[in-house]
Amino acid sequence: MKTDELIEALGSTVERVEGRPFRNAFIIALVVGAALAVCAMQAVLGMSASALRESHFGVMILTVVFVVGVVAAGSSYLLKAANPGMPADAPMTLLVLLVVGFLCAGAAALLAVHPAARSAMIFGPPWTVCLACIPLFAIGPFIALVWILRKGAPTSLRSTGAVAGLVAGAVGAGACALHQPVGSLPFLGVWYAGPILLCALLGAVLGPRVLRW
């Protein structure tokens, strides 16, 4: 096909673009992904009222802050990364600060207690649940995010994939927290942040393959 013919053909399907269709679709994908994560949690573990009762209130607030923060900053990054030529440094910095800050807070809380109590803080609740379930619950949101990002135009596939994995991991962690009481800040730092970072790593590995458009 000649290029001029192609242009004429493309010109015959020009529709008016209104509002910000991509942003709206992205939010819908995120909500669908979160719903999938909660459904997976319900199917595998089942929601427990004790999770909310037994969780330390301060730690629970921190969990919510972490999950919501990562999802918000990550979404802001992804919306920019899906649009060519858009600098996304600010949300990326925010994201790194959030994760590093959380890991540091966990480490600080660990150092603040007596060494004998440390192991109990980290290995107290069934930590294997978090390790296995957060990546499992992240699969749904990750697929939803990849689906919507491919409708956009991401140009740096590895970092976009990493952040998509991070956001999916955070959503998965949020779902996991509905089942299991979060015992302590170090527990959060190790068994929540760890699997979430694992999801980010997987996202970075998969990104260049699954996000191509």
């Binding site: 242009i7 493309l10 010109g11 673009v17 649009n83 135009a153 458009w213």
Partner: protein, 189 residues
Amino acid sequence: MHAEEVELRALMLAGLDGDASAHVALLKRLSTRLRAYFKNQLRRIGRGPMEAEDLTQETLIAIHTRRHMYDRTQLFTPWVQAIARYRLTDYLRRTKTSVRDMSIEEVQDTLSEEEPVGTDTRLDLQALLTRLPVKMRRAIELVKLRGLTTNEAAAASGMSPSAVKVSVHRGVKALAVLVKRKGSAHEDR
């Protein structure tokens, strides 16, 4: 550049508002720029102009199908450039091993790269030749390898032209036997 940015962006915005003719005009102007960009980039890595045309079309399609992504508050040229760069890297990754249209220089490069293979067979032949009687070897070297005529070979070797002919004839037969024997020895192994 600035004037062009203003013009192209105006066309893009009109296209986003549903003006098909503005959209076509935009794509036409972009196609010229994109073709030049891709030709330039591909020439640097020694690839041909046919691929530049493919890439131009791919990029125009990408711009068309992703036009909803364009943020009206942003500059237009960097948006297009980022898409073009992405299409180029994606294209190169996809076609890493296949060679679609080679320039003459490249073909020559490829041919010269194959030379070592030729050298190997030659070494093989040399090894076989050493197993022939001196007269035959000399005649074959002169006539078959250096490409001399029978008379030239006769003058160079001091043999009579008919002796050269006979030597070449017998030598080639002897070589054929040697090669056959070597081949069956390989199979036996």
